[in-house]
């Protein structure tokens, strides 16, 4: 069984990749995917600590995180579709207007 630190290392790396994606990409869809990646890395950390302490609370929180991620993805994609209808593009640096 690998040590908890190794799982946490994977979690950290994934979180870093997610942050890098959010900061460097301009495609709104890819940014949303990076956010999903970050949520998942948080989930991995939750489950590692749940396993480390032998308690289930981490798993329950992970389920909640997944539910919130589903809601977030639906809303985010709706915003992407609405934005595409307004500007004809999903590049985030073109979404400069507050009111359409």
């Amino acid at each position: 069984m690998p040590a908890p630190l190794e799982y946490l290392a994977v979690s950290c790396i994934l979180f870093g990749i997610g942050i890098a994606g959010v900061l460097t990409r301009r495609n709104l869809l890819v940014i949303l995917m990076s956010i999903e990646l970050m949520l998942n890395s948080a989930n991995l950390a939750f489950l590692t600590f749940s396993r480390l302490h032998g308690q289930l609370h981490g798993q329950v929180i992970a389920i909640f995180v997944m539910t919130v991620a589903a809601a977030e993805a639906a809303i985010g994609l709706a915003i992407v579709v609405a934005l595409f209808r307004q500007t004809g593009s999903v590049r985030i640096d073109e979404a400069t207007r507050l009111r359409g």
Binding site: M1, C12, F15, G21, T24, L37, V60, I63, V81
Partner: protein, 178 residues
Amino acid sequence: MLTTAIFYVLSFVCILAALMTVTLSNPVSCALSLILCLACLAGLYAQLAAGYVAVLQILIYAGAIMVLFLFVVMLLNLSDEEAAEGRYDVIRGLKGLICFAFLVDLYVLVEVSLGGRIYGCPAPGLGSLEAIGELLFTRYMVSFEVISLLLTAAVVGVVLITRKGPASALAAGRGGSS
């Protein structure tokens, strides 16, 4: 021994797929590599005695959320929009580097505070469905209800955001709210 090997394979593929998600230019390839990453993560979850969460991960993420992503990508017909605009400039590379520095910092912190702790003996029934259900409906009852409220709000919000006008409200909302 086998568990360790599986862990390394899964985490390697997972990180590779995550990198592909962030670096590939075609949104469809991004989404597909994210699916691979999430599937590998499900394997890691199962290793952590969280079989239920692992199956939910496949069911919700790979089966529903990512399909929705792919659907939207194909609906908007975005192919290589980002390829034309010079994806690699210095400032963005710098941003990525700063992220990694921050993360290394975080990991060092975790390592210092956690030291060489290993897993204790897992509680019997850890990860079993009954135990999770019991916890979910006793201690986390309020959170559970709030989450369901959140999902309802999300459905309504999606319908409101994506509708074109009052007349075609229903037709526009149907695809997004799934």
